[in-house]
């Protein structure tokens, strides 16, 4: 991470504000950091994550681009080639798809294609997931596309601290990072100490201890898992909750250690299940912890359907009950 030249602050902050603070502090610390995207300048972004940054740093460093996602990311590639550190905002998950070719064929591969001569320190910020009543194309969870593309880091915060710390670490990374922002947590609040909230990419963290089983999750599903763990007490289950924070690289060491110690695991995410990141997690946990498992690693995920209309989305999103149903299936009779 770049040297912080700004005053650290401690205050109650929403995740949106924490992301804004991370951008501001990183822009102050490193003049090569440039933001670009649709409506990021004058408007401050449709979620206001870039609020005030054009005013502070000027339109050149917080650029309202034409409306073309491949063009935005492709332009960012060129900027990075000339030594800038671009941070791209995609307005919503589904609107990042037009940039897929630039992402897969260039952003992810450039370092490899050039034997390390050309690094692309680009951060692509993508608000993702449902739970905010968005109409179609506004609630996709597209992490599996990115996580299965070698060359990308895939990071997703679930707390206010991590939103700040991980975004700064992502911008400072010399590799491209897909930074997935759980949009339904934008308005979640906590105390943020910017001096303390530093976090390198790649470490999972145990958010809750528990001896019966572990819920492995990330991003938007963390609060749901914590709620489920609380509710599980009534059933006599003491559930640990593990927050991955980074899907790539994956913290095999921490995950395996926790799973081995409890012997039962449920993976929870709201993205569709088939071919989702949960499949990878379940598969690799099983490969590494097979003889410690009392039951198969189960998955609680969104259904294998296009994201539903707002009034039906609660049926699709994994909730406390669905998680507890899965926990109940963990063959407690053994």
């Amino acid at each position: 991470m770049s040297t912080v030249t700004t005053e650290p602050s401690v205050r109650t902050s929403t995740m949106a504000q924490a992301l804004n603070a991370a951008l501001r502090d990183e822009m102050r610390a490193d003049p090569t950091v440039h933001l670009l995207g649709e409506d990021v300048g004058t408007l401050g972004g449709v979620f206001r994550i870039t609020d005030g940054l054009a005013a502070e740093f000027g339109a050149d460093r917080c650029l309202d681009t034409p409306l073309a996602e491949a063009g935005i990311l492709g332009t960012a590639v060129g900027m990075a080639m000339y030594g800038l550190r671009p941070v791209v905002e995609m307005q919503f998950d589904a609107f990042a798809y037009p940039a897929m070719e630039q992402l897969v064929s260039h952003v992810a591969k450039m370092r490899n294609r050039t034997a390390g001569k050309l690094a692309l320190p680009i951060t692509v910020r993508i608000p993702y997931g449902g739970g905010i009543g968005g109409v179609e194309h506004h609630s996709d969870s597209s992490e599996s596309y990115y996580a299965s593309t070698p060359g990308l880091h895939v990071v997703t915060p679930a707390t206010v601290d991590d939103a700040y710390g991980l975004l700064r670490a992502s911008i400072a990374s010399d590799d491209p990072v897909i930074f997935l922002e759980p949009k339904r947590l934008y308005w979640s609040k906590a105390e943020l100490n910017t001096a303390a909230a530093t976090e390198p990419i790649g470490r999972a963290v145990l958010r809750r201890q528990g001896g019966s089983a572990v819920l492995i999750t990330y991003g938007p599903s963390l609060p749901v898992c914590l709620e489920a763990a609380e509710a599980a007490k009534a059933e006599g289950w003491d559930l640990a909750v593990l927050d991955l924070r980074s899907l790539v690289p994956f913290d095999d060491a921490t995950v395996a250690q926790v799973v081995r110690s409890v012997g039962r695991a449920v993976v929870v995410h709201e993205s569709t299940g088939f071919g989702g990141v949960g499949a990878e997690i379940a598969a690799r946990v099983t490969e590494r912890c097979f003889h410690h498992l009392a039951a198969p690693v189960l998955r609680v995920t969104g259904f294998d359907i296009p994201f539903p209309p707002p009034m039906l989305e609660h049926h699709h999103l994994p909730g406390v009950d669905r998680i507890l149903d899965a926990v109940a299936k963990l063959q407690w009779e053994d």
Partner: protein, 377 residues
């Protein structure tokens, strides 16, 4: 001989004369400097008074529709509404020019055009209400679903027009999009395919000066968006988008050209959205009220009323009739949206595939069990 009539002839070497002469077209490629206008010009007199009165009536109803839909968002009856207030002339002209057999490819902002061509208002607003995705049958209504991913509907319009032409059927596709949408790759690819296939498709770009907060000056450096037609060998037309008669005229010409095998046209209509981008947007962040007020002076509804009255085509009685019809529509909308929507959780699994996969059947069973347990608890 196929309808495409592709002759992959050898490219003429460029040192031979004639090889690179620009296309000479009955419809000149470059748009005029000034947008086409009819209201306030002697041209108005050439138009059928019945058509003019119908356009006026539709404008009044359209404005009321926009207002009522906006009110519904405030009452929580619609999840979101991207209003076309200020842009009704384009919406109405589009709806009016479409024949029953033609297809409309609307963007999210074009519910008014959808309703205008005959789709039930409730059905047209279903997506924005949030109870289902598309509320109407696209095939029966010949109206594609409201399209959110920008410009992605444009190649669909081309493909449909092309397919209809291959089948020898007289069908025209009208794709509607905004100024911001012209920056997307799909816009470019659609125009190029349309031109190469000579498909009977018309592109109507409503240039309302903004893509959410981004003004046109940051979107394009072109003399006009209509000039974009040149790079595809297509005719481009610039029209005052608040002059419903002018938009109707320019679209009609484009439709005639398409119908007669003349291929696609790109129309840029200069207009302005008087409301925010959607009810969720705060337009004061990016534009000054003086600008909005200036455009209000050129409001498509009052403009039309003034000029038709001047021309003696409209009188108080007709104005009152239109207002009544508008109120009737608003009342219907209020009533329909007052009722709670029918929601069926099982519908989640019903139309993912023609036949649900074994996986989806399992998941549907899971949800059914959950709902049963909830109901039991």
């Amino acid at each position: 001989m196929t309808v495409l009539d592709h002759r992959p002839t050898a490219p003429v070497p460029p040192w031979l004369p004639g090889a690179t002469d620009p296309r000479t077209d009955p419809a000149p490629l470059l748009p005029d400097h000034t947008p086409v206008r009819v209201l306030g010009t002697p041209e108005l007199a050439k138009h059928d008074p019945e058509l003019l009165r119908d356009l006026y009536r539709r404008l009044v109803i359209g404005r009321r529709y926009n207002q009522q839909a906006t009110t519904l968002t405030k009452q929580g009856r619609l999840a979101v509404y991207p209003s076309s207030t200020g842009q009704e002339a384009c919406e109405v002209a589009a709806a009016t020019v479409l024949r029953p057999q033609d297809w409309l490819f609307p963007s999210y902002r074009d519910t008014l055009a959808v309703v205008g061509r005959g789709v039930d208002p409730l059905a047209a607003l279903t997506l924005l209400r949030g109870s289902a995705h598309t509320g109407y049958d696209p095939v029966a209504t010949r109206t594609a679903p409201l399209c959110t991913p920008l410009a992605t509907q444009a190649p669909h319009a081309v493909g449909l027009a092309h397919a209809a032409r291959l089948r020898g059927e007289d069908v025209i596709a009208l794709a509607m999009l905004g100024d911001g949408g012209t920056s997307e790759g799909d816009f470019h690819e659609a125009l190029n395919f349309a031109a190469v296939l000579n498909a009977p498709v018309v592109f109507l770009v409503q240039n309302n000066g903004y893509a959410i907060s981004v003004p046109l000056t940051k979107q394009s450096a072109a003399p006009s968006l209509a000039h974009k037609a040149v790079g595809y060998g297509l005719p481009g037309r610039l029209v005052d988008g608040n002059d419903v008669v002018a938009v109707h005229e320019v679209l009609s010409e484009a439709f005639d050209r398409a119908r007669n095998g003349g291929g696609p046209t790109l129309v840029e209509a200069l207009t302005y959205r008087l409301d925010a981008h959607t009810n969720a947007d705060d337009a004061t962040r990016y534009r000054v009220s003086a600008e909005v007020e200036a455009w209000r002076e050129h409001d498509p509804v009052t403009l039309m009323e003034r000029h038709l009255r001047e021309a003696g085509v409209l009188d108080d009685a007709l104005v009152a009739r239109a207002a009544e019809q508008a109120e009737a529509l608003a009342a219907t909308m209020r009533a329909e949206f007052h009722a709670e929507p029918q929601l069926d959780p099982h519908s989640l699994f019903q139309h993912v595939y023609a036949e649900p996969t074994p996986q989806l059947r399992e998941q549907a069973d899971q949800l059914a069990a959950e709902l049963a347990a909830e109901a039991g608890a």
